[in-house]
């Protein structure tokens, strides 16, 4: 069985969202409710654990879970000071019989049931893999810089991918990587980097280009437009 952890533990206030971004109304629903809805509607997902701002778990449950009748949500738990601690808190609430665990950013409300299902299938289809990450080839030219911002290299763009979420892992691999990271103090920028660091084999799966993360207030305009266009167009997910 497959369990999803939706990480919405940050306050978002540092990025200019007074009162946080997860309950911001976008196209008629709180941002986080759009995200949870995609997992609720994905047949490949059996259980959902929401990691909320530690002071606001009840409010998140009421406005983003109960408001949409998301029956797969088994727990809404409070997050930690960092994303990694929030995911760890979510792992503690996932059922012990989960075979695979998906981790997804609450602030990526444009994810669709189709793409979630695609990621789960990609992991199931290749026994050599411990995990898969939804993303896309890098469009931007990236530069490696030194401490003085002088460019020391232009990596070959054809080998660079942008890592987004969902990221899907074999449950025992993700749990043991997180335990090892906690024991050693290792921190990674995403879940895959923690699994990679402790020897896991992870591959990229190509997702759509619009799976944006709402990070700064100007992103809300784009997310609203994209969600409205999808609702009006009948949608592909």
């Amino acid at each position: 069985m497959n369990a999803a952890i939706i990480v919405a533990g940050g306050s978002g206030e540092r990025a200019g969202f007074d009162g946080g971004k997860q309950l911001l109304m976008i196209a008629g629903l709180p941002l986080l409710a759009h995200t949870i809805s995609a997992f609720e509607l994905c047949a490949a997902v059996d259980e959902i654990v929401v990691v909320a701002h530690p002071d606001r778990a009840d409010e998140y449950r009421r406005k983003a879970v109960e408001a949409i009748g998301a029956g797969k949500v088994s727990a809404v738990v409070g997050g930690g000071d960092t994303r990694q601690e929030s995911v760890a808190a979510g792992l503690g609430a996932v059922s012990g019989d989960a075979d695979n665990i998906l981790v997804h950013d609450g602030a990526r409300p444009l994810i669709t049931p189709d793409v979630i299902g695609l990621a789960v299938e990609a992991l199931a289809a290749d026994v050599s893999l411990d995990g898969v990450v939804v993303g896309h080839p890098a469009y931007d030219t990236l530069k490696v810089v030194d401490a003085g911002r002088k460019i020391t290299g232009t990596p070959d763009r054809s080998l660079l991918w942008v890592a987004q979420t969902p990221q899907v892992f074999r449950a025992e691999v993700l749990r043991s990587a997180y335990a090892a990271a906690e024991a050693s103090g290792y921190t990674g920028t995403d879940d895959a980097s923690i699994v990679e660091h402790f020897g896991g084999v992870v591959a990229m799966v190509q997702g759509p280009t619009d799976n944006m993360k709402v990070t700064v207030p100007e992103d809300v305009i784009a997310a609203e437009q994209l969600l409205r266009a999808r609702l009006e167009g009948g949608g592909d997910g």
Copy 2:
């Protein structure tokens, strides 16, 4: 004196823009006219060369140069099959007495005179540099993959920057790097990578987060919103 090459030589039709993207009306003006206007209004820019789609140079001149009375535009020349060939065509039309040459993507209409001026000043302020590139630290987690899309590494994000434009170079350095690239067949993903490849020293300069490139049709919505918000707000550029 400082000359700018605005590269608008691609058709954009492959990305889903019927009739090209450069003359698409956004917030009341053709996309390319917004871009040219920022350079026209920047006191640090003395000359502008526009590289247009080879079949449509007259139309670009009429609709994106004459329509806004851009008096600094000395030439509208036809581009080549690749971006690199288009920049080379622009270089051929830049006055011989230019001390510095700026290269900018026509499809980045949100650039402002302030940011262009900042880039010119950054190069002028450091004699050890051959060029500067406007961009910002990478927000996304990037992955290096192999041919099978398996992740082989997660580069340290704190050392990665996204390279945008304008990119500003000492004129003789840019001209000789382009000559060397043409002689050797070297191709780069941006102008800085060509200068870097032939030994030039280039640094990043931090620009704003909204200097987006209109690449796919959905980008037009975001560009329109951002330009309208700026026009209505009185603007910072």
